[in-house]
Symmetry: C2
Subunit: 439 residues, 2 copies
């Protein structure tokens, strides 16, 4: 374990263990560093950073949704973007497993509030931000994702930069540079899944993209060809890619329309299995189950093969826990991912009977599930399109119900109805404050 | 040009061009997004972000060196880290072309000032931060760099996180998680070279690493095996790597000692050519020059082949401008990279006579230069180790002189001497305020 040993080496290296010559070289390094730093302190680059950080961090311009508190712009988008991805319950562009709203929506709320931008303009900015990030995701998926990038953050910063750029009315060159400055900050490792760092990713992507547009607005320079350059985004971040997909059928095909809403509070790849286990629970009590086999797309096991989750968060990355709890409780909302549920002996018992099998003939929104009972009898369920998938979308009523459940600790019934109504007539609102004040 | 066309598409898509169905889907997306965001608003993840952003952004704790102004912690490290890399005049670990101080030093100054940490502890944090980032760079260089990453930012965030973690006295698990949270934010495309975004990279890396340590200190979770994990830093960011280099000879070989200081205000790869052109200028007037050939390591042309730079900044990435101006003015400091100098007819004339040739038999700190005069006579100069390289290091006196030149607009002569003295006895100072107050 390299990381672990590096950490031990660091901890064990006391000051007196460091040779004199190294200490002297460190001081020389600091002297040289201070020199070059103060030498450039009145450079245009520094002036822009001074101005922008003053603008954005000096005042509390943007509301933390649901908290009745304000923060500076960059902190607000970081927090709202992170919150929205904590439950893994946000929207998903199924073809790329990209969650489009999380990096983009915080930007339109924060800038909209600060500058009191008409909601119709914000809606356009949101749509264009989502289109840009999803099309860039199309261009690099699946190679980029398979390599190990959390695509929601790695291309999400482009979406945030576009939304911010539209709102700030950047000209074409500035917009291209915003994409450059956002794209060079692209980041996010799938290794972080199952920790707080996963939801942090889209929040940080929102922050990076917003910062890019704010800096470019004041004169910061960057590359204008970040996507296609030899050492630009596509070549560096994705072993293979088809950049034409960024532009193809623009204005005819809208990627945002392929955005699906989740009925369950975990990664979309588990949804067919949840549907299946809820259906199978009609045929047996937990005690009668001998085994449940789930034939799934190979991605499912790549993402959710945690056999012994210990926390609710880890439970979201465990097909074993998820299938068991869906069978037991006929749902997979936040309630089913509480730590106690993950460690409940009843769940532990059933999850040992869950047998996932990787099958590359099965699409991502499908599952072939077989229940084998103790008495030897079998029941098979085939889910062709999971609830919430593109061909089996959640209705407006289901969405409203989901919203009401999520807002139960924050809004009363009347407020909930009002928020739903205001967002559904977003483009006719006079001011975004009409929504923000309610939340 | 994909980026350019994407920008045009965005600009040309007016609200009325967007189909009703897309607008409805956007509203549903926003409704769903607001729901999941407020649903998680009291989650531990959000609570930590609320607390840390309050801590760091509410007050102006850290000085912008050379400006006599304070900013919040994160803005201060961004700005000081960026300033230090603007002139491309900071230190360089020659084996990896990594500039170690820029992402690490801002962190020890900012945290040291806020918490009044004893300078000896800060020096240890600085040394360990540099060791960590440079060893990680060793492990991924050259593959990672060749792919297109600006290694100073992409591994620099690790150095910033280590320095911050040492100062904040994180335990081993926390330190590993800080490396995780820093490593997942790793970023930086070489495509940005020649724009303001290049110096922004180490500043942002310092900010990302500091934020990682601050969040983990308050309980944020992340992976503890970011370096070696299947979808961790090395596998995702570097086509090939040797992770053993992170640990080998720890405490025996100190990478920081290989850190070199630049006598010239441009990328280190140009320094042998500058030395050579200064020497060749003894043998001819500019008018007498017919051609100067420079046989250089292939990296030199990969990084500095800009034939027609228009600005001083672009001039730093042009072997043509740099060689010409070194011949004309016998130096390559900031003065030689002013916009006027780059566009001066005298420079333009001479730079057309510069003929660089890639030769993989020539090491990075060497050059074989040949001056051919109009009269047909030739002069050859072979630079074996450029000034400032590991085998031909700048003396303390040269360093002091460089510092004095850089601080000339900020400090008077007496202050300059005092700063040099204080930094060279950094470990014996009672408080870092003794240095900061002077700058």
């Amino acid at each position: 374990m390299i990381t672990e040993q590096l950490v031990k080496n660091i901890a064990n290296t006391k000051y007196d263990d460091i040779p004199e010559s190294v200490i002297l070289h460190a001081k020389k390094s600091l002297l040289n560093w201070v020199g070059v730093t103060i030498g450039a302190i009145n450079h245009e680059t520094t002036n822009i950073l001074m101005e922008v950080t003053d603008d954005i961090s000096s005042e509390r311009h943007a509301t933390i949704l649901g908290r009745n508190q304000k923060k500076d712009l960059l902190s607000a988008v970081l927090i709202n973007g992170t919150s929205s991805h904590i439950f893994d319950f946000d929207d998903t562009h199924l073809e790329t497993i990209h969650h489009p709203s999380a990096p983009v929506a915080p930007v339109i709320f924060a800038l909209g509030e600060k500058y009191n931008i008409p909601p119709k303009e914000l809606l356009r900015a949101f749509i264009l931000g989502c289109e840009a990030e999803l099309r860039i995701s199309n261009a690099v998926y699946p190679s980029h994702y398979q390599l190990g990038y959390h695509i929601t953050s790695s291309t999400g910063a482009f979406g945030a930069a576009v939304a911010a750029g539209v709102i700030l009315k950047l000209n074409d060159e500035q917009m291209a540079m915003s994409l450059g400055l956002a794209g060079t900050q692209s980041f996010g490792l799938r290794e972080m899944f199952g920790t707080m760092t996963k939801p942090f990713h889209p929040g940080k992507a929102a922050q990076n993209g917003l910062l890019a547009a704010l800096l470019v607005e004041k004169g910061f320079t960057s590359s204008t060809q970040v996507l296609e350059a030899k050492r630009g985004f596509a070549n560096v971040y994705s072993p293979s890619h088809e950049l034409d997909k960024v532009l193809v059928d623009w204005g005819k095909v809208w990627e945002l329309e392929k955005n699906a809403f989740k009925p369950y509070a975990c990664g979309i790849v588990l949804h067919p299995s949840i549907d299946a286990c809820i259906q199978l629970s009609e045929f047996a009590t937990p005690e009668e189950v001998k085994e449940i086999t789930l034939e799934v797309h190979p991605y499912v096991l790549e993402l959710t093969a945690k056999e012994t989750p210990k926390t609710g968060l880890e439970g979201k990355f465990s097909i074993y826990h998820t299938a068991a709890i869906a069978f037991l409780e006929k749902d997979a909302s936040e309630d089913q991912y509480q730590n106690e549920k993950v460690n409940d002996p009843k769940t532990l018992d059933l999850r040992q009977k869950i047998k996932p099998v990787s099958n590359d003939q099965i699409d991502k929104d499908k599952v072939l599930a077989t229940l084998i009972k103790q008495d030897g009898s079998e029941h098979e369920v085939y889910i062709e399109h999971a609830t919430g998938s593109f061909r089996n979308q959640m209705t407006q009523q289901m969405l409203n119900k989901k919203f009401a459940k999520l807002s139960t600790n924050t809004l009363d019934k009347k407020q909930t109805e009002q928020v739903i109504e205001k967002i559904l007539e977003f483009d006719q609102l006079e001011s975004i404050h009409q929504v923000i004040e309610l939340i």
